[in-house]
């Protein structure tokens, strides 16, 4: 008896739901003008075919990219204010978006690219180490801001396979930012500041390893030196700035840019990695390292014959259900499951 009642109630719920969905669909069909919509879709597509025919004359992809690119795909983990700043207000990001995808792919693989990005981060770590070495409260507050900004910068490049050491550097930067927060909030003594200073130098050493071996060695020695540490830190920072500037100029030349202003931030934000609206169908991708690039299910066009199942299997959808993916490292042959 009670089973029958339960079944009857379940059927009543199903009937109610079915009726509600039917009402929704039939009501919407009265609101939607299907014929006009179809006409618009087909005329748009015809227009697109016409525009496609003008490709060679007008270079529409570059022009389109310049218009569409400000709507940069959102990077997970970045505050909205930073996203908007990167997406809407950077002329350099817009310039990079307008560079053809084949050139961007080739520049990603250039030996100058990783040292450029690591060099920019290294300069920021050394700014932080200098602030921690200065003995007054204002420098401490500045160190806190720099540590948080650095953790954010490292988060921006962490998932893009820029360098295997970046993930470790990011977690160290977070620990460092936390240590400085604790130090400031609880008004600890100088010992805490010294420990944070050592952490910053460890971080600087790991980043410098990807920029220049001799600089990494010098920073390693600095960790055990107490005298003249500030002077040596300032020298290391000057040298790092010069190195970062040299690499950045090399990248600007490869991209045919007339300025390097904003290039560092654009590289950190992944402007070279976003292929979510690009046509790659005519590009020879065999042998190209795609690890770290962003692509989308509906916007990226791949060469005919691309194994989409394999590509999807080695990509992470980020954020979930967004249709935007980042390509990850392929599984190593013989790796244990």
């Amino acid at each position: 008896m009670s089973n029958n009642t339960a079944t009857g109630a379940a059927q009543a719920v199903d009937r109610w739901l079915k009726d509600q969905y039917l009402q929704l669909r039939s009501g919407l069909s009265l609101q939607l003008d299907v014929d006009s919509g179809l006409g618009e879709a087909r005329s748009h597509a015809r227009q697109a075919e016409l525009v496609h025919g003008l490709d060679r004359i007008l270079a529409p992809e570059a022009g389109l990219a310049a218009i569409l690119r400000p709507r940069l795909r959102r990077m997970p983990g970045l505050p909205a204010a930073v996203q908007d700043q990167l997406a809407e207000h950077s002329p350099m990001i817009r310039s990079l978006r307008a560079v053809c995808p084949a050139t961007r792919l080739s520049v990603r693989a250039n030996p100058d690219t990783t040292p450029t990005i690591l060099g920019i981060l290294l300069v920021r770590v050394l700014d932080l180490a200098v602030a921690l070495s200065l003995d007054h409260d204002r420098s401490h507050a500045r160190a806190r801001d720099l540590a948080h900004a650095l953790a954010l910068d490292l988060a921006r490049v962490r998932d893009r396979a820029v360098d295997p050491g970046v993930a470790g550097a990011h977690s160290r930067a977070l620990e460092l930012a936390h240590a400085i927060d604790v130090d400031i909030n609880f008004d600890l003594d100088h010992l805490a500041r010294d420990i944070a200073g050592d952490q910053a130098l460890t971080l600087a050493h790991s980043l410098a390893s990807g920029v220049e071996a001799t600089l990494a060695d010098d920073l390693d020695q600095l960790r055990t030196r107490d005298r003249d540490r500030l002077r040596d830190l300032l020298r290391a920072r000057t040298r790092s700035r010069a190195l970062a500037a040299t690499h950045t100029r090399a990248i600007a030349a490869l991209l045919d840019l007339t300025t390097t202003t904003g290039l560092a931030d654009a590289l950190l934000s992944g402007a070279l990695d976003d292929f979510t609206n690009d046509d790659l169908s005519e590009i020879e991708l065999t042998g190209t390292d795609l690890v770290g690039i962003l692509w989308s299910a509906d916007g990226t066009r791949w060469p005919r014959g691309t194994d989409m199942d394999e590509l999807r299997a080695r990509s992470l959808e980020t954020p979930p259900d967004s249709g935007v993916y980042v390509v990850t490292e392929p599984p190593r042959v013989g790796a244990r499951q």
């Binding site: 509600q20 919407l28 003008d33 879709a41 954020p319």
Partner: protein
């Protein structure tokens, strides 16, 4: 009209309304749902020969577009004023009508996965088709459907008591 255009026209006429209804049932306004449905159909038309399963493709791409829109709008509190479009000539009227549907009020109380499964089920999709579209197992589909039905029963009971 070419064979390809005829095939697309049939597809459009058959699916643009259910696709819009699907997006409305996921929480989109009538105007946004119609805009995304139209944009997705346009993409499907352009990539017609590259797509294997057109129906699954448009449902998936449209839902992804909706998720992206929601993510973007979270940071931008100012909604655009809906403009009439060829597909939806009276967006305000459509929205007012949609907001009076009880199913919309029920769906708002469900988690996204249950909203999806329930809407697809009543759209005629089988459990296996839903599982494949959403990339989840058959058991998970059944579980979500069961929970959604329980929530619907509670909603109906609560409405009667009011």
């Amino acid at each position: 009209m070419t064979e390809y255009e005829q095939a697309f026209s049939r597809f459009y006429r058959e699916l643009v309304v259910p696709l819009t209804a699907y997006l409305v049932s996921q929480g989109a306004s009538a105007h946004l749902a119609a805009e995304i449905a139209q944009d997705t159909m346009l993409k499907a038309y352009r990539k017609w020969h590259e797509i294997h399963w057109h129906k699954s493709w448009v449902y998936k791409v449209a839902y992804q577009a909706y998720v992206r829109h929601v993510t973007r709008v979270d940071a931008e509190p100012f909604e655009e004023v809906p403009e009439p479009t060829p597909l939806l000539p009276r967006p305000d009227q459509a929205e007012a009508w949609a907001q009076q549907r009880e199913i919309i009020h029920l769906l708002r109380e469900l988690p996204p996965r249950q909203q999806q499964v329930l809407a697809l089920h009543h759209d005629g999709w089988t459990t296996g088709e839903i599982a494949e579209l959403l990339g989840i197992g058959n058991a998970t589909v059944r579980q979500n459907l069961h929970k959604a039905r329980l929530a619907a029963a509670r909603y109906i009971t609560g409405r009667r008591e009011e």
